[in-house]
Amino acid sequence: MPYTIDNRPADVRESLYFPEIFQAIGLVVKTFWRNAFFSRDPNPDILERDRTHNRVATVQYPEEKVPYPIGYRGLHRLVPRADGSPRCVACYMCATACPAQCIYIEAGEVEGDPIEKYPVKFVIDELRCVVCGFCVEACPKDAIRMDTGEHPTATYTREGQIYDEKRLLRGPPVSYEKDPWLVRPSRLTDAALAADRAAARPFSSLGADEYSQTPGFSSRTLAAEAKGRSGA
């Protein structure tokens, strides 16, 4: 055993009972005043906090937030190219890998290009999503990512949790340097990356606004429509 349980019998001072009681009360009072009158070190890394005066280990959540680590699986986003169009080429890899089947894609051909495709519709049902990150791992173009560091926001309607390409396409068009998601190294040069970053739109509030998309819009109705079209 690495250590043994220390359960010796009480000595004379402890069996007198009152010195121990007053010592304990004194400790509580001392800690209370110390924590009440000295300000708390707001460092989110609790192990590195200055504990000389105030020893409270809490993070006052809505005001203070512990930053999410790189690689945290948050809300999805579609990565734009530098010109704002999605990187996605509608290859259906993410929709195939998704164990919850929450991704719906409709592919379209880029005008004037005999090869290139793009997603006409790209819908993620965040209520069905199990936040596993398989879509990010499956993507060959690094076009879908979960690096927003946001949670899917609370909504009043179920439609509000269905994210279409308008809400998903946001954020910087870059691959971060130390990125656990990135399997293949970026082919962009450093100068091109810096230019991309400078030109990037910041994370907008578009994704959080449930009214920014068509009401009554759901991946199931879309799938039913598409099935009807192909049948006819």
């Binding site: 690495p2 609790i46 690689g71 945290y72 998704c98 596993c132 398989f134």
Partner: protein
């Protein structure tokens, strides 16, 4: 419950039938116990499970082999890493894949970290159930720090989805190793703090010592496993006796209950075995971080594996006992049958046999000491 035959109660003797749960804070989830009482003494307590059934085994037959991994997280929300590992090992045996050494070490580290978080919740809630509210706050404080580390490793705090068929998903982030070592130093001292705070507390020892004794033979007969079995004095640990993964490389001891506060197999033994196991987990993680080899993170596995027809079983030592997966393949890309054997479900069976003669308040101590988690029971 229609098939359950209830004994006719003797009204002259103040016998009552009480529903304990399903919305009771001490039942650790949505569990129901039908308790026949005579005053404060229980005649019998019958567990009524199934409130959290989510057909996780049936889902396994619907999704492809790699796609089931995020669903295993939901089997036991306090110890998701073990469910990941057990499933990964089962499919690897089916596909006959050799896991790279580095992946095995990362698996061992992540699982042992998760064992510490799970045991911290277990011992903290146990103290709260008995009536000592303060220790829970201490336990959850330590667990929060550890959850931050696991979040940096896997990208989520509870539903890790870290293991993959043939390895693990990510390597350690930069600086993570030093953070873990700093945390383990803190943990070793906080276990001693924990001992001073509650383990050696005379009231706590007297409250739990000699209560709800499960004898060695009973524990084996009912198929208890993990800390519950070791609390009853049986020296059995799958990590040492049926080694898997990287565990043969580490030296660690298996704590066994020896009647610290009364009889072997009482609530205190099951509780204190968990405290000692946390220190052993800390030892294993230190050794693994020290010996960590370089190499690949995953073996070469097809994205859509189609194993040959056959059946396999995997057994691992989870925080709640033996976690076994039984997989039957019919040669397609989905399992024909998936079955999970979980420790909590086995522990529920013994409650009906142990409960006669206990006080009603002791039922809370018994459930807490068995570390029953409702979603793992029901799956």
């Amino acid at each position: 419950m229609s098939k359950l035959v209830l004994r006719r109660l003797d009204r002259n003797n103040e016998e009552m039938l009480i529903n304990f749960g399903p919305q009771h804070p001490s039942t650790h989830g949505v569990l129901n116990f039908l308790v026949e009482t005579d005053g404060e003494v229980m005649r019998r307590a019958i567990p009524d499970i199934g409130y959290l059934h989510r057909s996780l085994e049936k889902i396994g037959e619907m999704v492809q082999y790699p796609g089931y991994m995020p669903y295993t997280d939901r089997i036991d929300y306090l110890a998701a890493m073990f469910a990941n590992e057990g499933y990964a090992i089962a499919v690897e045996r089916l596909l006959k894949i050799e896991v790279p050494k580095r992946a095995q070490y990362l698996r061992a580290i992540s699982c042992e970290l998760n064992r510490i978080t799970s045991h911290l919740v277990s011992i903290g809630t146990m103290a709260t159930d008995i009536g000592a509210v303060t220790p829970l706050v201490y336990a959850l404080r330590e667990r929060e720090l550890l959850n931050d580390l696991l979040e940096a490793l896997c990208g989520a705090r509870l539903t890790y989805n870290y293991h993959r068929i043939g390895g693990v998903a990510f390597d350690m982030p930069e600086g993570w190793r030093d953070k873990v070592l700093a945390y383990l130093d803190r943990l070793d001292s906080s276990i001693q703090e924990w001992d001073r705070l509650i383990s050696t507390n005379e009231i706590y020892r007297k409250r739990l010592g000699g209560v709800a004794v499960i004898s060695r033979a009973q524990a084996i007969d009912y198929g208890l496993s993990g800390p519950n079995l070791r609390g009853s004095g049986v020296d059995w640990d799958l990590r040492r006796d049926v080694p898997y993964g990287a565990y043969p490389d580490f030296s660690f001891e298996v704590p066994v209950g020896c009647g610290w506060a009364g009889v072997v197999g009482d609530c205190y033994d099951r509780y204190y075995v968990r405290v000692l196991e946390m220190a052993q987990s800390s030892r294993i993680i230190r050794q693994a971080l020290e010996k960590m080899p370089d190499g690949e993170l995953t073996a070469k596995v097809s994205r859509k594996p189609k194993p040959e027809a056959g059946e396999v079983q995997s057994r691992i030592e989870s925080a709640r006992g033996e976690l076994a997966y039984y997989l039957v393949s019919d040669g397609t890309e989905r399992p024909y049958r998936l079955r999970a054997r979980t420790g909590s479900f086995m522990a529920m069976g013994i409650i009906e046999d142990i409960s006669p003669g206990l006080m009603v308040a002791d039922l809370v101590a018994l459930i807490a000491s068995l570390d029953v988690v409702a979603p793992e029971t029901d799956r």
